[in-house]
Symmetry: C2
Subunit: 187 residues, 2 copies
């Protein structure tokens, strides 16, 4: 690639993953809303939100630049679990996740001129049972208010509380890097 790609995300985790993957990039963050039409099928929601982030950044750039945007959601029993709105919500979300399996779905949009590659990558995550005390301690110490599903897999609750996963680990961190790199090569 001659020009650096543009990452339309402020997430330090996504930045770190692209660095590990040795992708040359710069960050431009948009103020695109993370809303979506009601009734949109669950699997399409993160792609829809990622596309809005990509388009908001694309407007500011020359059309030949490659923009990469992503949005990650947690899906439990068919419901989308977003970022917690407050402490009680975070505790409630983690209480629902504990002892169960959920899905982490990241929607990715790669956009250049008229071309677009969009896909969603899904990883299954299996949580151990957690006590109310463990959940409260985690929420108060780590304050996971900016995280879909109210947790980060690389923090205490992910290290101690997750029994296993099925799929791409880095997808749970917010970006399915190996798939992104393959799609970038096609582009």
């Amino acid at each position: 690639m001659k020009e650096r790609i543009v990452l339309a995300s402020g997430s330090p985790r996504r930045r770190q993953l692209l660095e590990w993957a040795e992708v040359d990039f710069e960050v431009i963050v948009s103020d695109a809303p993370e809303t979506y039409p009601s009734g949109l099928p669950v699997g399409l929601v993160p792609i829809h939100v990622a596309r809005n982030k990509a388009l908001a950044v694309k407007k500011q750039l020359s059309p030949d630049r490659i923009v990469l945007a992503a949005d990650t959601v947690v899906v439990l029993d068919g419901d989308i679990i977003g970022k917690p709105v407050d402490r009680e919500d975070a505790i409630g979300i983690l209480s629902r996740l504990a002892g169960h399996q959920h899905e982490v779905v990241t929607g990715v949009v790669l956009s250049q001129g008229q071309k677009e590659i969009a896909f969603a990558e899904s990883t299954e995550v299996y949580f151990h049972e957690l006590t109310r005390e463990q959940i409260e301690n985690y929420v108060d110490k780590y304050r996971p208010y900016d995280k879909a599903g109210a947790y980060a897999i690389q923090e205490w609750i992910g290290v101690v509380g997750i029994r296993g996963i099925e799929g791409d680990f880095y997808n749970v961190m917010g970006l399915p890097v190996s798939r992104v790199v393959q799609e970038l090569e096609k582009m």
Copy 2:
């Protein structure tokens, strides 16, 4: 736990995982040999090696201390793949792993006085196809000579080259932390 546990491993990755898990520990490294009797079933090899590491450190301590030791191996088609002996060996190992599934098995021994908890945790790892050039670049840049299977999942080749896993991600990094914490609680 009143007394800090003793980690019988010099691996910075294991140290980091225990820190993330908020386990209170100190490190004492032994010079236990990483050898095992020929004919030992593959699944028992990392437990055998971990036990030797634990016993070598235990000798230096009062018997009430809890010693934690671990050994990680890569298993491909029933063969144990250890650390590469040189550049050619590392390239050969990664060429065998590319495009295939392998197993990462970590043997863990927790030892206190006469008590011992030993187990092995296994995670399936699926590599994409890799070119000879990608493999050589990785080996020359990251020099994975201290790593079973000649790779680290958190380095370039793991981020870009691994399609997915099944099981505990942290086990691939060298320690199945969530299981370790559960067994420590029993002890």
